[in-house]
């Protein structure tokens, strides 16, 4: 029966190929043929070329490349065919460029552990990375502040690494796995075709990925790591809860007035949005200023000097303070210091900024997004495709790396049990676990964003007291840090 079926398919395939050759509009015919009978053609052409991949990862950013590395290094997945598709070009970095790139991420210890397990952390450390030991977050409308640091200030809390450096390090590691992890750069996907959830004879049970160059690939599992506007998620019809914050982030590389032991991350909540300064080196820091679209555009138009002034005043000026809030705040702080004498921290001021790197000012819109499902039959989405957060907590990349670690673990176990990699059972496990972790984080970040985007007195008072109280409770702060470090 099997040989008969194969012969029948082969005959059909040959027939259709003849049609294609004879057609006047070659491209048109090929497309028709492919859409209708790609399975037949595949059966007919060289088997090794068109055999289904075990896993295709769509999207070669930080999270996608990390996923490819992670799967490639797993011993239970040895011998599986893995493919990474990336629309851009290969990001290699033999030597780190002099200037810093504007897009940076805060890498938590958990993510650093994953990256070091992949062997990429060594490359990152050799290229460029900045650990920081302390974080100060304070309000513009009151004196409330909160500081996070490890017990002894010697320990590193997290790392600021440029996104390009991370991708380059992972790409370097990926090259060592080239025997079973294949990467195709400059490859755009135009169409996905989903398999039926139940088995029907004569239909292809795999996911079909159609590329812009006309080829069709098959895979047993498709992993979508293609960013916040994920095509995989859209084509799979996964409903997404999303909204745009009426904010854009302005990023730039800042030059500090004087060299300093730059190991503190600063974030101040202005009524228009948080402004953050993240250390890159002893003389340079990265700016992430989330503010309204209009203000962001204005900032981009300013000349360098005015821009620098705007940054400094944003961090230093107290114009948003109101008497009521100040009095209330200081009363509360006194009360707290009576109850808990050791709590409370002195407010420090961030270093002042002297200049910016030329042409380093960029802006991009901010939004929140969460896919209600991370999986479908033979499909999983990870990273920003599944969840998109406001940068105010520096968690976007870390959530993505958490997805990578857990999905690898789930797939490894499934392969060791001889399971079909695209089966729902273990994918559901991945979805449940990650949603359980990601949703509270995203809710908290969204709450913070809303809480701090107003200067109405009641909200200000509420958040002032809240912040001061949290600052006075070291166990609570430790919990928060532990959760964010995973």
């Amino acid at each position: 029966m099997f040989t008969f079926a194969k012969a029948k398919l082969a005959v059909l395939g040959l027939g259709r190929q003849c049609v294609a050759l004879r057609a006047l509009n070659g491209a048109q015919a090929v497309r028709n043929v492919r859409g209708f009978a790609s399975s037949e053609r595949d059966e007919e052409s060289s088997t090794s070329e068109n055999e289904p991949f075990d896993i295709i990862i769509s999207g070669g950013g930080m999270v996608g490349t990390a996923m490819a590395c992670s799967l490639g290094l797993d011993p239970n997945l040895a011998g599986k065919k893995i493919l990474l598709l990336e629309a851009g070009h290969k990001k290699e970095m033999d030597r780190v460029p002099e200037t810093y790139s504007t897009r940076v991420s805060s890498i938590s210890p958990g993510s650093a552990t994953l990256l070091s397990g992949l062997g990429a952390w060594d490359h990152i450390v050799n290229m460029r990375c900045k650990p920081y030991n302390k974080m100060q977050v304070w309000d513009a409308c009151s004196d409330a502040l909160i500081t996070f640091d490890k017990e002894s200030l010697q320990d590193e809390m997290a790392y600021i690494v440029e996104n390009d450096v991370i991708v380059a390090a992972l790409t370097k590691q990926l090259q060592t796995l080239s025997d079973h992890v294949e990467v195709q750069y400059r490859t755009k996907v135009v169409k996905y075709t989903w398999p039926r959830p139940y088995h029907i004879s004569e239909s292809i049970p795999w996911v079909q990925v159609t590329l812009a160059n006309g080829k069709t690939l098959h895979t047993k599992l498709l992993i979508g790591a293609d960013g916040p506007n994920s095509m995989v998620r859209r084509e799979a019809g996964i409903p997404t809860v999303k909204w745009n914050y009426d904010q854009s982030a302005v990023v730039a590389v800042l030059h500090l007035s004087e060299p300093t032991e730059n190991n503190v991350a600063w974030q101040r909540f202005l009524p228009s949005g948080p402004i953050a300064m993240l250390p890159l080196s002893d003389t340079e820091s990265s700016l992430v200023w989330s503010t309204s679209h209009q203000h962001a555009e204005e900032l981009l138009q300013l000349d360098e000097e005015s821009f620098v002034d705007a940054i400094n005043s944003a961090f230093w000026s107290n114009e948003n303070h109101s008497e009521l809030v100040e009095t209330a705040g200081s009363l509360f702080r006194t009360a707290l210091s009576v109850l808990m004498p050791d709590s409370g921290s002195a407010r420090q001021l961030p270093p002042s900024v002297a200049g910016i790197s030329p042409k380093s000012r960029v802006m991009f819109p901010l939004g929140m997004g969460h896919a209600t499902e991370y999986i479908r039959h033979r499909v999983a989405i990870i990273g920003d495709a599944a969840h998109r957060v406001h940068p105010l907590a520096g968690q976007g990349a870390n959530l993505g790396f958490g997805d990578v670690a857990y999905l690898t673990k789930v797939l490894s176990q499934a392969a060791f049990n001889g399971k079909d990699l695209g089966a729902m059972q273990h994918l559901l496990e991945f979805e449940t676990e990650r949603q359980r972790h990601n949703l509270p984080m995203m809710a908290a970040v969204d709450l913070m964003q809303r809480l701090y985007s107003t200067n109405a007195a009641p909200m200000v008072l509420l958040r002032t007291f809240g912040l001061q109280a949290t600052n006075a409770l070291p166990p609570l702060k430790e919990q928060i840090m532990a959760y964010a470090s995973k």
């Binding site: 055999e51 011993p75 239970n76 011998g79 599986k80 001889g418």
Partner: protein, 336 residues
């Protein structure tokens, strides 16, 4: 004794009759009930062979079973054949049993043979899946690298299994199916397999002696035999009644014959008499609410058994020395 056998044969042929036998309810899972129908042809065929004694021919079993089987039963099998791979369908319990039996088989084989190859732990081993049905157990074992031959007397099931595995190039090379019985195979493949798996099959065979003898023939010395089946206890009877009453509405009254269940002690004794020694027995339990299986201490309802074919005939003066071997490192006494 023969009258009992004849009575069982008569009952078997009149599956739908109102013959009052409360011990014939399906146990614990409807999937097993339905599959029991398929493997039931195996038992019928065994009975047939026993009655005819010798003259085993190399003919395909189908003509024989079709003449003795109720055509309604055959139609039932054919209807069920396409449902093997519907993961939420009647065979859902069998699919979820893979979570227990694949690691059981894999780990015990790894204990005996060691890891063959990363990513393909069972590479190089030849395994026979008796009563493979739609290939539910054969496929995961094939993915782990073993060369699998799945046999089942119901040709529709074998066809379904072949079709399902034909799409996956990994499986195409490693998993083969054949519609035949174990006895037919035993003539060709003497000492050809590293392991034999008979999962949810033994409770439907009338002649366990023939089965054990055939297994002994096809296994290499030191080869492994894996059996999962139901115990013959009050508990398995009670669960059968309860579950069957819930399931009666869904599944045509299957024929799990409580009389044909065999307890682990009896099975162990039987296998020992055919030159096996039983290495491990573990209890299993199905939770109908979650649809998941789990290991448990008690073997009262379902259990899994691992036996190894002795490498040589035990000599009388070496029996004592043999019992020492029971503590060799290969023995999997406990694992999570």
């Amino acid at each position: 004794m023969y009258s009992k056998k004849l009575a069982r044969l008569a009952f078997g042929l009149l599956a739908e009759s109102a013959f009052k036998c409360p011990l014939t309810r399906s146990v614990s899972s409807r999937g097993k009930a339905v599959r029991s129908l398929c493997s039931w042809t195996v038992c019928l065929h065994h009975r047939q062979k026993n009655l005819l004694s010798n003259g085993l021919t190399r003919l395909n079993v189908r003509p024989v079973s079709q003449t003795t089987l109720d055509p309604a039963e055959v139609r039932k099998f054919q209807a069920m054949a396409s449902k093997w791979w519907d993961l939420q369908g009647e065979f859902a319990a069998l699919h979820s049993m893979n979570d227990l039996r694949v690691p059981f088989i894999r780990d015990n084989l790894l204990n005996v043979h060691g890891v063959q190859q990363l990513g393909k732990p069972l590479a190089g081993l030849r395994i026979l899946d008796v009563g493979c049905g739609g290939g539910v157990l054969s496929e995961p074992l094939g993915r782990l690298g073993a060369d699998i031959l799945g046999i089942d007397p119901v040709e529709d099931s074998v066809r379904t299994a072949e079709l399902h595995s034909s799409y996956d190039p990994d499986l195409r090379e490693r998993v083969r199916y054949q519609a035949c019985t174990l006895e037919e195979l035993a003539e060709e493949e003497v000492e050809g397999f590293d392991a034999v798996v008979a999962s949810e099959v033994v409770e439907h065979l009338a002649d366990l002696d023939a089965f054990a003898s055939c297994c002994q023939q096809v296994l290499k010395p030191g080869g492994s035999l894996f059996i999962t089946t139901l115990n013959k206890t009050t508990l398995s009877y009670v669960f059968g009644i309860v579950a069957a009453e819930q399931l009666l509405r869904i599944v045509p009254s299957g024929t799990h014959d409580w009389e044909k269940f065999i307890g682990p002690e009896d099975l162990e004794r039987l296998l020992e008499s055919f030159g096996f020694y039983v290495e491990a027995i573990r209890g299993m339990m199905y939770n109908p609410l979650t649809g998941a299986w789990s290991w448990q201490q008690s073997t009262a309802i379902n259990y899994a058994l691992h036996a190894i074919k002795r490498k040589e005939e035990p000599q009388p003066d070496r029996v004592w020395a043999k019992s020492e071997n029971l503590d060799e490192p290969g023995r999997a006494t406990s694992y999570s």
